[in-house]
Symmetry: C2
Subunit: 350 residues, 2 copies
DNA sequence: GAAGAGCGTGAGAGCGCTCTCTTGACAACT
DNA sequence: AGTTGTCAAGAGAGCGCTCTCACGCTCTTC
């Protein structure tokens, strides 16, 4: 809480000094700096010259104090471990957010609550209004944070569809459609017994991907079979375990749709060990198009998500909300792309 | 530049109100909030009660205005693309930084300059003193940013050893030692013709790893051979190209030290295509211990870096600098760990 | 017992900015 | 000529906080 202050800080150039040099009042300099139209061209130029000459930069704290705006938004990443360290989702997302905000000269405050105490602090920080808005990256559906922040009237955008749509704006990718396309691709390749390795049921993305899998299976007139639906935790080991289980209960399977590349990689290792060839005997498709997909042997067909775009879109929507708090919640769904590689090559029809 | 303000912002509880409720002056409340020892126990308690009751949270802008401290530090990531998206380096690093700072209630402002204009803006932002300090993640040695910021007296810590040690504090991993250990491990496994696939020469980490490779080779009394030293760009394709080249010029090689896992993966694919078995014919070691290493077939021996720790250390050093600007630059080198997997299994001595 | 030291508390200035209100100049009406 | 409107520019208050200084009290010390 305490801000330890020991060293004196250099003081910058103030409006006052610029005003003196330009021979105008503080208010006029402020108008010029903030782009008000109510300044004559002549005065504007002389102020601009003075600003340039003195290297004036507005003091954000002073400005914030009166405008009640911080000029910053928070990105809150509440991922215990998992995906945070497995694929470059977060850097890409942050890059997207950053790109969308730099044009508006708004800063990105990154919050990565780790412990429970952190989590409380994060919520307090946001609710205290230290930022103008927040982007919550909430991959688990049951996150209580959004509720608290929305209740505190802080403009908020969630990345990833929330479990319950509590009137909050969100940006998500079309997980269901992406999964469906992937499975349709397997079907088009002549596969008929297609298993799914899904993610944890508390994650909305996992549910949506499973739903997409079912869509495609049902629509193709194949038998929906719970025995073909395994669940794991998005990790490689989890994928391997799920694959072993699937081979035991449905040895006749000829394709696997895995809801993450890592799980696909684990599954491929098990298939390999079991003497099943990929893609000849079993085709496989992953999800995320992470570096692992390109590196795998054979290279893994995977569903690519427009991650940077998601970040940009989230930032855009948030800035709209910040500018106009009464705006209705927005829902943005971005489409995915299937990246075809060798792991899902179709087999010659027998 | 302009901060568009349209909506009125809610105003929070102020010191004044707390003071009134507690029956003391503003100054006393300030002292309590900031943990000054010069307050009697009785008054302190009554102020704390009032703070609690009103849910008072200090206004950071007002505080900053007078203390000339922002209560935030910047993390600047200037990576055009490459590593940003290939392994989870940045999320881990950020997590480390975040963990070290949350205890001090200091915010992390993330800057990811993309375009050249961004880059200028970033420098301006830092130089303007909007943050109390900066952590620069500078993987390329020739980054001009540190110089400008140091010159502006902004406390700075660089992650990754800078090309020229201009008296700046930095935190790095022992790349040279890590590489050396990896190559020693290959030698201990009976390998005698060991190639290196290095990274771009403008990256200090790449140079250091190459130096470590040479250390081990020389010390073992093996012939130093420039023909065994290929250079690539840390990517998979680059690694593949380098491997093809190496096989062409030194077909007798029996081991490869790659300065990244991605390059190792590319190299492994080429070895496989060329009919060389890993590890029987050619042993291989990567670097980074990224997800790709565990996923590879065979799993890749790799050098693991303490990335979170690096972030924490960088934050710690920076906070020291912020608290005491006269402190001498610090250099922190963290050690690496060799993670042994199947790709480098030793061969039975003939 | 007077002088000084020590300590808890309050008064008040002021950090740098924005923004409302006012002024004054000039043009355009009646 | 008098009124009104328009618009550039200035004056001044005040955002919420910290911090210096002054004050008054109690406790030592010779």
């Amino acid at each position: 809480m305490a801000v330890t202050s020991t060293q004196p800080r250099p003081r910058g150039v103030t409006l006052e000094e610029v005003a003196r040099l330009a021979g105008v009042s503080r208010a006029t300099v402020s108008r010029v700096v903030n782009g008000s139209p109510r300044v004559s061209g002549e005065v504007r130029r002389s102020v601009e010259t003075a600003v340039e000459k003195l290297g004036y930069v507005p003091n954000r704290a002073a400005r914030s104090l009166v405008t009640r705006r911080s000029g910053s938004i928070a990105v809150v990443i509440t991922e215990p471990t998992g995906r945070l360290f497995s694929d470059p989702f977060f850097p890409r997302l942050l890059r997207g957010v950053s790109a969308a905000m730099s044009a508006r000269d708004i800063q990105l405050v990154l919050l990565m609550p780790d412990t429970l105490a952190d989590s409380r602090r994060t919520a307090d920080y946001l609710v205290a209004g230290h930022v103008d808005g927040a982007i919550l990256v909430s991959l688990h559906g049951d996150d209580p944070l959004p509720g608290r922040i929305i209740a505190a009237q802080i403009p908020t955008v969630v990345v990833g569809r929330p479990l319950r749509d509590g009137g909050v704006s969100y940006v998500d990718v079309d997980n269901r459609g992406g999964a469906r396309t992937a499975v349709e691709h397997l079907i088009a390749g002549g596969r008929r017994v297609i298993a799914s390795i899904g993610g944890p049921a508390d994650m909305v993305a996992a549910r949506d991907r499973l739903a997409g899998y079912r869509d495609a299976v049902t629509e193709a007139g194949l038998a929906a079979d719970p025995g073909l639906e395994a669940v794991a935790d998005f990790t490689q080991d989890g994928g391997a375990g799920a694959m072993e289980h699937l081979l035991a209960v449905r040895p006749e399977l000829d394709a696997v749709f895995a809801a993450s590349d890592l799980m696909a990689a684990g599954a491929m290792a098990v298939l390999h060990a079991a003497g099943r060839r990929v893609p000849e005997d079993v085709a496989i498709v992953g999800y995320d198009d992470s570096p692992v997909a390109a590196t795998a042997r054979p290279p893994l067909t995977s569903v690519r998500q427009p991650i940077e775009e998601m970040g940009q879109e989230a930032a855009r929507v948030l800035l709209e909300l910040v500018d106009d708090a009464d705006r209705a919640p927005r829902r943005v769904i971005l489409t995915t792309e299937l990246i075809r590689r060798a792991s899902s090559a179709g087999r010659p029809t027998p």
